[in-house]
Amino acid sequence: MSPSRLYSASVMSPLPLSSFNVSSNFCTEENISECILYINQELSSLCFPPIFRNSDDIRDLDAVVALNNIHDLLQLHRRAVGMMEELEVEQLKSSSDLHYQHLTNSRLKDQLELSKKENMRLHERERQLETNVKTLQNCLKDAKEEVQRLQGIIASRATQYNHDIKRREREHNRVKERLNQLLIAKKENKQGMEVLNYVGRSDGRRCLWKTGKTESRHEGEMYKTLLSEFDNRQRELMVENIELKKVLQQMKREMVGVLNSKKTCQREEKQSNNTDQSTLQTNSDDDEPIKGPPEMSCDHAREKLTNSIRQQWRKLKHHVERLDSQASMVQDGDTEEMISKQLHEEEIERLKLEIQQCKEFIQTQQQLLQQQLNTPCDEETAAVLNDSYMLEEKERLKEEWRVFEEQRKNFEMERRNFTEAAIRLGHERKCFEDDRAMWLKHQFLNTTFADQMKPQSRRTDELSKHSGHEEKLISISGKVSKSHL
C-alpha cells in the first residue's frame, strides 16, 4: 500500500476528515460569498450547474443543485479513486514485469556469453582437429608413397628372383639331361692333354716341388707384399702430414702476424691487447716443441698446434666481424681514415653514375665525330655532293643570265624601234615643217589684203592647232629623246 500512498501524495486526499479540516480552512464566516463564487466557478468549469443562484445579490444556496453537485462530485471522486487504484495495480504489475524482464535479460546475456565462449572453444577444437587431420593426411600420403616405393622395390626384386630361379631351373634341367646322356653313353670321353713337348717356364727357372717350405715361403712373400704396401702408404701419408703441418704452422704464423699488426693500429683494444700479448707469448712457446723434430709428432704437440690454430682463427674471425660492424656504424672522433659504410657506398654509387654519364657523353661525341669525319673522309661522295651543289648554282645562274639576255635583247629591240621611230618622226617633222613653211609662204603670198582678218584667224586657229600638234610632236620627241637617255 505504500506506493499508493506515494502516488496519492500529489492528489488531494479524499478522506472526509481531512476535507473537513480543509473546508474549515477554506471557508470562514467572512469569505462566504467569495467561497460561493469560487465554488460556482469551479463547478461550472466541471460542467456542473451552479449551486448558487445569483439573483438579487442574495446568494441563495440551491440545495437540490448543491446536493446533486455534491453527489456528482462524490461519484466522480469515487470513479477517480477506482481508476487510480486500477492504475496503481497496473503500474505495480508493469513494474514487476519490468523487473522480471530485467532479470531475464541479464540471465539471457549471461547465457549468451557462455554460449559464445562455448562456440569459441568448439571452433578452436575444430581447428585443432582440422590441423590434426591435415598432418595425418600428410603422414598418410607419405606412408602411401613409401608403400608404393617399397612395392616397386619388391616388384623389381621379385622379377630378379624369378629371372634367377628360371635361369637356375634351366641350368638344372640341362644338368639333368647331361647326366642322363652320360648314363646312357657307353663311351666316355676322357679328358686329357696332348702336347708335343713340355715347354719351359716363362721365367726360365725349373719347376719346384710343393713342400712345407714353399708354403711358408708363400706366406712370407704375401706378408712382404702387404708390408711394403703399408710402408708405401704410410710414407705417403707422412709426407702429406708434414706438408699439412707446415701449412698449418704457416697459417698460424700469418694469422698471428695479421692480428698483431691490426691490434697496434686499433686504439680501442688496449685491454684485449694485453691479453693477446699474453696469448701470443704462449703461442710462441708452443712453437718451440713443434719446431724440434718435425717427424716426431706426439699427440700433445699436435693437439697444441690444432688448438692454437683454432684460437687464432677464432680471434681473427672476431676481429673481422668487429671490423665489419664498425664499418657499418657511423663513428665520430678518430674516424679520419674510416668513413661509414653507407657513405662509402653512396660515394661509390655516385661515382659509378658519373662514370656512366661520362661514358655516354664520350660515346655520343665519338659518334658525332665519326659522322663528321665520315663525310669529308669519303672523298668521292663529298666531291660529288660539292659538284652537284655547284651544278645547281651554275644552272641557276645560267637561267638568270638567259633571262637577263632576253631582257637585254628586248630592250635593244625596243630602243632600236624607238630610235627608228624617233628618226622617222624627225623626218616627218622636217617634212611637216617644210610643208608648213611652204603652205605659209603660199598662203602669205596668195592672201590678198582682203581676206587678212578671217583667214588669219582661221590660220591662227590652224596654226595653233598645228602648233599644238607640233608641241605634242615635240613633247613626244622630247619623251623619246628622254627615253634614250
Binding site: L150, G152, I153, A155, S156, R157, T159, Q160, Y161, N162, H163, D164, E171, R174, V175, R178, L182, A185, E188, N189, K190, Q191, G192, M193, E194, V195, L196, N197, Y198, V199, G200, R201, S202, D203, C207, L208, K210, T214, E215, H218, E219, E221, M222, Y223, T225, L226, E229, R233, L237
Partner: protein, 453 residues
C-alpha cells in the same frame, strides 16, 4: 683441337670379334672361322697361319706373347699354338665334361678351363704333367681375377649356399687363403692394381661391397642403400686410390683407399645445369655428294657417296640428355651405370648410364666434377681409354669412330668401301693405333697425335 692425322689400313676378315694384339705389341692375331691368322703388326703381313679343329670361340695370347690359345667350346677343345715353333702343338680335350671358358694364367704356362655347369676348374700345365682341380667355382659376373703382377689369383666359390673366396699363388697353385665372404650372393671380385686389396661385391639385390686384404682380413664394407637394386659395375683407378661403384640408381660413388668410405658421388641427371661441363652433341649433316668439304672437324678421305658426315656441336647449358625409360617388368633393367673406365693417368673417369644409352659422361677426378658429356646419335656400344694418354675412343655401331680428349672431340668416318659398322674397338698398347672391329672385319686406324700445346 689438336691436329692429328688418321690413316686407315685395309680391311681384314675376322669372326666372333676375335682379334687380339700380342702383349708386346708386335703381332696381331685374328680368327677367321677355324683359322688363326697371325700378322706382324707394323707390316700387317701374315706371319703364321694355324688351323684349328673347330670354330674358335675364344682366343687369347699368353702373357709373354709366345703362345696363343684357341678354345672351341662346342667340342670341348683347347688348342695352343706357339709362335716360335709353328709346328709345336698342344691340344686339351675336356671330354664329356664340357667346356664353358678357358683362359691363360699370368705366367703364360698354365691354362684354366672351366667345365660345363661350373663343376670345376682344371688347371693344365704346359711345363709339367701336373693337373690341378679347383672345386665349386662360382658362376657369376666375374668370379676369377688375377693380380696385376700375376702372382695371385682370387676365385669365388659357392659351397652349401655360402660364398667363399680362395686366394691361390699362381706360382704353384698353392691355396694361400680360403675364407668366407660376407656377401649374400657374390657377383664379382677384383684386385686393386697394387694387388693388396680385393674388392668383392654382391649381386644387384643387395648393395654391398667388401674390401678384403691380401691375407684374407676384412678391411671394410660399404653399402649405400638398402632394398633397391644395387651395384651394376665396379672399377679401380689405376693408382688404386679410388674405387668407382656404379649402381642402378644412376649414380657412381667414389670410395677412397684410406678410409674405404664414399668421398663423392656422381649423378647422371636428365638435365645438365653444371656450368663447367661441356656438352658435345653429335650432329649429322646431310650426305655429302661429291663435295670437297674440308673443315677442321671432318676428315674426308675417299668418302663413300652415301655416308653421312657428322660433327660435334657444343650445346648451351642447361642441356637435356635423351632418356629411355626401361621396362619395369624385366629383370636386369636397362637403367644404371653399366660401364666405368678410368683413364690411364687416373685423371678422368668415363661412365655410361644405361637409360641414357646415347650419352657418355666424362668426369674430372682432380676436381671430382663433370667435365664433358658426349651425346651421340646412336647408343654407345664401346669406349676405351688410350693406354698412354688421356684420350677416349668410342663407337656407336655406325661407320664412325669418335675420339675425345680434354682439348675437344672429333668424329671420324672410316673410309672403307662399302660400309664398316664399328661394333667394338680397342687400342694398341702403344696408344698410337686403334683396332676397329665390325661384324666380320677389322680395320686399323693409325692415330699419330701431335700433342696440343
Amino acid at each position: 683441337m689438336y691436329q692429328n692425322s688418321m690413316n686407315f689400313s685395309e680391311v681384314f676378315k675376322q669372326s666372333n670379334q676375335l682379334c687380339k694384339v700380342s702383349p708386346d705389341g708386335k703381332y696381331l692375331a685374328t680368327c677367321v672361322q677355324y683359322r688363326l691368322v697371325v700378322r706382324d703388326f707394323n707390316t700387317l703381313q701374315i706371319v703364321h697361319l694355324y688351323t684349328c679343329l673347330d670354330q674358335v670361340m675364344h682366343m687369347e695370347w699368353s702373357s709373354d706373347s709366345l703362345f696363343i690359345l684357341c678354345a672351341m667350346y662346342k667340342r670341348g677343345l683347347v688348342q695352343v699354338w706357339s709362335l716360335e715353333q709353328p709346328d709345336w702343338h698342344c691340344k686339351i680335350d675336356e671330354g664329356s665334361i664340357g667346356l664353358v671358358s678357358s683362359r691363360w694364367s699370368p705366367d703364360g704356362r698354365h691354362i684354366l678351363n672351366t667345365t660345363e655347369f661350373n663343376l670345376r676348374v682344371t688347371v693344365w700345365s704346359l711345363c709339367t704333367k701336373s693337373v690341378s682341380y679347383i672345386k665349386y667355382p662360382k658362376a657369376c659376373q666375374k668370379g676369377v681375377d688375377f693380380t696385376t703382377d700375376g702372382r695371385y689369383m682370387a676365385l669365388a666359390e659357392r659351397r652349401e649356399c655360402k660364398d667363399y673366396i680362395s686366394v691361390f699363388v699362381c706360382d704353384d697353385w698353392h691355396l694361400l687363403r680360403h675364407f668366407e665372404s660376407e656377401t649374400q650372393d657374390l657377383a664379382g671380385l677384383e684386385w686393386s692394381p697394387n694387388g693388396c686389396v680385393l674388392a668383392v661385391w654382391d649381386n644387384c639385390l643387395e648393395y654391398k661391397i667388401l674390401f678384403y686384404s691380401l691375407d684374407g682380413r676384412l678391411l671394410s664394407s660399404y653399402s649405400a642403400y638398402e632394398w633397391s637394386l644395387g651395384i651394376k659395375s665396379v672399377a679401380w683407378s689405376p693408382s688404386s686410390q679410388f674405387l668407382a661403384v656404379g649402381s642402378y640408381d644412376e649414380k657412381v660413388r667414389i670410395l677412397n683407399h684410406i678410409t674405404w668410405k664414399k668421398i663423392t658421388e656422381f649423378e647422371h641427371p636428365a638435365t645438365i645445369i653444371n656450368t663447367k661441363a661441356v656438352v658435345f652433341k653429335e650432329v649429322e649433316k646431310r650426305p655429302v655428294v661429291g663435295s670437297e668439304d674440308l673443315s677442321i672437324h671432318q676428315l674426308t678421305m675417299n668418302n663413300s657417296l652415301f655416308s653421312t658426315q657428322s660433327k660435334y656441336e657444343i650445346t648451351q647449358l642447361p642441356a637435356q640428355v635423351p632418356v629411355i625409360k626401361p621396362d619395369p617388368d624385366r629383370a636386369n633393367p636397362k637403367i644404371g651405370i653399366s660401364t666405368l673406365a678410368f683413364s690411364a693417368d687416373n685423371r678422368y673417369l668415363a661412365t655410361k648410364n644405361d637409360n641414357m644409352p646415347q650419352s657418355l659422361w666424362v668426369w674430372d677426378m682432380q676436381r671430382l666434377s663433370l667435365l664433358a658429356v658426349l651425346e651421340q646419335t646412336a647408343p654407345v656400344r664401346c669406349f676405351v681409354w688410350d693406354p698412354r694418354r688421356p684420350r677416349l675412343a668410342l663407337c656407336t655401331g655406325n661407320t664412325k669412330v669418335y675420339l675425345w680428349s680434354p682439348a675437344g672431340c672429333v668424329s671420324v668416318n672410316v673410309p672403307v668401301e662399302g660400309s664398316f659398322q664399328v661394333q667394338s674397338l680397342f687400342w694398341h698398347c702403344s696408344g698410337s693405333t686403334l683396332i676397329l672391329l665390325s661384324k666380320e672385319h677389322i680395320c686399323l686406324c693409325y692415330v699419330d697425335a701431335e700433342e696440343e700445346k
